[in-house]
């Protein structure tokens, strides 16, 4: 998979960059940063299909996790054929993890967002396969095991009732396998 590397917009740590799979994801991260919403990029992987031996054969990693909102956000700005595949995976995810709060953001949603922010001219370049830009910095194989994002700033953990002025969001550095919500094996499901 090609990755788009997005620099952190707050410039507090220029060395940190996040390997976004799609330009629309990088744009979404900038929007979330702008509105001081903390996010993590693909921190959780949820198995959705197992073989008869109980090995995971299919999993789903929502693009963003917004910890303060306990919300997973999946961007789907690709062609309809791929959207159908993603919809199927999402249905499966919701069946298996009914308590999970997942929001799917379609191409139309993204276009409306760009329209709202006066960035419609950028929309075509950020959507569909045009948004998938090969990274000149890292081969695809490295990316699947990449440590994603940077260190959470404790000061950004905001109690809404007590907060004064919000501070910018920061993604959390976390290996997927170490996350307790990441389930590597589950009961065999016969399909």
């Amino acid at each position: 998979m090609h990755r788009v590397w997005g620099a952190r917009p707050d410039e507090t740590d220029p060395s940190v960059s996040v390997p976004f799979a799609h330009a629309s994801e990088a744009e979404m991260s900038r929007i979330l940063d702008f509105y001081a919403v903390r996010w993590e990029y693909e921190p959780h992987t949820f198995p959705i299909l197992w073989n008869l031996d109980g090995d995971v054969v299919e999993s789903f990693s929502p693009d963003f996790y917004l910890p303060d909102l306990e919300l997973h956000l999946e961007m789907t700005t690709l062609r309809q054929k791929l959207v159908r595949k993603k919809n199927r995976k999402l249905r499966r995810l919701r069946e298996l993890y009914p308590d999970l709060n997942v929001k799917l953001f379609y191409a139309r949603d993204f276009r409306e967002l760009m329209l709202k922010y006066g960035k419609l001219a950028l929309h075509d370049g950020l959507s569909g396969t045009l948004g998938q830009v090969a990274s000149p910095y890292a081969p695809p194989d490295e990316l699947d095991t990449a440590v994603v994002a940077d260190v959470a700033d404790a000061s950004t953990t905001t109690d809404l009732a007590a907060a004064t002025e919000p501070t910018p969001g920061r993604p959390t550095r976390r290996r997927r396998a170490a996350d307790p919500r990441t389930v590597q094996k589950g009961p065999a499901i016969h399909t």
Binding site: Y35, K103, D124
Partner: protein
């Protein structure tokens, strides 16, 4: 863009008429008047989109109210810079500590701006903080925020008028409508 604007001609469909809006604003005003009777209420309007709604709503409320205005920068609001952080461009002019505060919004869609605003205002220790919006577009919600007074729940379409803009225009329409697709195409270069 303004050279080519045909204020009413650019509108493909009227979603909410002037009369429908006026009726709803009166209903909201009556409900708010009843709920806050005997209390000290401050209406906080968020510029610029909620100006017409604020002007009409405050006159539909029949208890004494204070009003204040805030302006918050919008993502992409600067033509030269897409990054950065949301900023308070205009803060409250008076303290709201121990006051009952009602945020008056024109529309809630993603909830990102409102989420920021609620966090900011809660930090100023009001006695209570509630939200009134003329329009709610829940299909596009990212941040779930309880809304206390909602005028209309609208479909997932980009709307203009009655304060809502596209490219800073169409705010002065007396109704809420949807623009013709070619209006967007002109701006996006499509």
């Amino acid at each position: 863009m303004s050279d080519h604007v045909d204020l009413h001609g650019d509108v493909a469909e009227i979603l909410l008429s002037e009369e429908e809006i006026a009726t709803k604003v009166r209903e909201l005003g009556a409900q708010i008047s009843a709920d806050y009777r005997g209390r000290s209420l401050t209406l906080v309007s968020v510029l610029k989109g909620s100006l017409p709604f604020m002007a009409d709503l405050m006159r539909a409320i029949e208890i004494p109210v204070r009003i204040d205005l805030m302006e918050v920068s919008s993502y992409g609001g600067s033509s030269t810079e897409s990054s950065g952080l949301v900023r308070i461009l205009k803060d409250l002019s008076a303290s709201i500590a121990d006051e009952d505060v009602l945020i008056v919004e024109d529309i809630i869609d993603t909830g990102l701006t409102l989420n920021y605003l609620v966090r900011y205002l809660r930090g100023k220790a009001p006695a209570s903080l509630h939200i009134c919006t003329l329009l709610d577009k829940p299909a596009r919600r990212l941040v779930e925020i309880p809304v206390d007074y909602t005028g209309f729940t609208i479909p997932d379409r980009f709307v203009v008028g009655y304060g809502l803009d596209y490219g800073e225009l169409y705010r002065n329409l007396r109704y809420v409508g949807v623009l013709k697709p070619e209006v967007y195409a002109e701006v996006s270069g499509g």
